[in-house]
Symmetry: C2
């Protein structure tokens, strides 16, 4: 298992960790955004300019072609088995750079420094690496835990608000999976202060929820599916946005998906109606309206193509109450259409 | 840890193992040779014709392009996480098919059925998967243990003699790493009878040597390097052959490499001279003469580029006596040139 370090001194920590690696054997993967906004926080950590590998921004760059490019650059830089690859950026950089490191010479050392809230709270734990393939997200990849993940919320100071709330949706999810207490706490967060020491502590607690679940089930055979809470409905909203060419954040879809999962939990698992309304209202005040009006049938058919399904129908994680979840809950088409109708009221 | 099964009823065993996988979810990776010579032994195991994925023969096909092709075919066939990929062939098929399976949806089920002696005795254990990249062998890959490896020496009945002795070099290596007794036994093998029940037993013992070493050190940080015995010199002969466009088998290079390692062990580790001569003569009677006359300097410079080196010089595994080996033995240029001179006498 790798180590996750919460700090506001990322450069110092990285320097200590890779002190034994000669400078020419250090490689840094960034994209244009993280190079511009985040690299300055690594001041004092030495890399050769030719060992800084910049990849394109966004999901479109998360491809086999880009991994190929990273491997070429590692080869040209003379990377060896004891070289270290440091990935500095959002989920695209850490997922892709992690995959590249995991396969180069069957695995070189890897440190992830996630710089967006989404990647800090989600992609930082669990060792999922990968790239998109033939239109499917993260279709090619491996489970590979980086030896160190450094989470420094100073990076969040420059993060656009839309991206802050994108990552925050996963934190709401973690709180729901954890307890009433966590849920209370998360709904009091000041989203204007995400670079504060207080927020670093909340981030640490949120990541701990995911860590506990992943530790129990590293390869997603069982309980790890709990982390799909909100992602079945969310996937449909996200896929619809992609197909419609909308600019729409992953976490915003997850937030909508959480509303769906909560409504379904009220319908099927006796989740408290009043509490459901409180959470749903809270979510609705934070997240922008979904920019289109897909029909329930359209969304349902997108759900059918979710890779979380195994042939037994549409697979949900649902909840009796905060902290009490059930994985592998299959819902009928009618139940799904009913919930979509409630959501769109 | 995966299971390795030694049998002469490969079809029955495979049928039992994949009985629970619906036929459309089964995929078979072959090359032209294994399709022609080996597929008939799987009679009675059902695959859809469109799920049989044929890749090119030989090291030239062991590329990212070919893996890409296998992933496309898996995607087109609707492979899911609980699908099974069966790799039937030599090391190229099992290494490449294993890599493809390990990365598709972050890992689908995988069964290897090695059909050459080299792949049965070597590639079947240890979970090394991978493809060649930018001229380097197995440069991109992962460690991933298939859930089952089936070794059936019936396949060897159709294997050309040159390929039999190619795999056999690894068996000599295993015997050297194991004990005097194993060495005695291996030098009495009848290489005309490799499809016999007796040979299946010898194969089982040989594979067990590798299993023990790999179990101790799955990711090759330490003792697993013992398996590099003969491969430092061997690598130089192999690289020279590739650069000169010679047709020359991996195992034949290993056999020459073993001669080098034994001579070096006499020189530096007190390996018994008489025993060394016995083994070296035995090897020389089996293997053809090396077809070229590279200079010692040429071979030395190829050794410098071996990926087993870590910057401290050329890294050897050497022996005090059969069963007693030392990893990470660094030898000087003069020692290496001396041994190459003795070998070429």
């Amino acid at each position: 298992m790798g180590r996750i370090l919460f700090t506001n001194r990322v450069a110092d920590e990285l320097n200590v960790h890779i002190a034994s690696v000669e400078v020419p054997m250090r490689f840094l993967v960034v994209d244009k955004n993280s190079r511009q906004n985040c690299l300055s926080l690594l001041e004092g950590v030495e890399f050769l300019p030719q060992n800084i590998i910049e990849i394109g921004v966004g999901e479109g760059s998360k491809s086999l072609e880009t991994v190929h490019y990273v491997w070429e650059r590692l080869e040209q830089g003379g990377a060896r088995r004891n070289s270290v690859v440091v990935n500095l950026g959002g989920g695209v950089v850490t997922d892709l750079g992690g995959f590249a490191a995991a396969c180069f010479k069957r695995g070189v050392r890897c440190v992830n420094i996630p710089t967006t809230l989404l990647s800090q709270v989600d992609a930082s734990v669990g060792g999922k690496t990968g790239v998109n393939f033939m239109g499917f997200k993260n279709e090619i990849g491996v489970f590979s835990i980086p030896e160190l993940v450094i989470i420094d919320n100073s990076f969040l100071a420059t993060l656009p608000y839309a991206e802050v709330i994108s990552g925050y949706a996963e934190m709401i999810k973690h709180a729901l999976l954890c307890s009433y207490e966590s849920l209370d706490k998360i709904m009091q967060v000041d989203l204007m202060q995400v670079a504060s020491p207080d927020f670093l502590q909340i981030l640490r607690e949120s990541v701990a929820v995911k860590e506990r679940v992943v530790d129990e089930d590293p390869t997603e055979k069982g309980v790890r599916k709990a982390l799909n809470l909100g992602h079945t409905f969310g996937h449909a909203f996200e896929s619809f946005a992609i197909e419609s060419g909308l600019e729409w954040y992953h976490g915003h879809s997850v937030a909508y998906g959480l509303i769906g999962a909560i409504e379904m939990s009220v319908l099927k698992c006796g989740f408290n109606r009043e509490l459901a309304d409180t959470i749903i209202n809270y979510i609705r005040t934070i997240y922008p309206e979904y920019p289109e009006n897909p029909t329930s049938e359209e969304l349902y058919s997108l759900m059918l193509h979710d890779k979380k399904n195994d042939g037994n129908g549409v697979n949900f994680t649902l909840m009796h109450e905060p902290g009490e979840f059930m994985i592998n809950s299959y819902c009928s088409k009618q139940e799904i259409l009913d919930v979509l109708k409630i959501m769109q009221r």
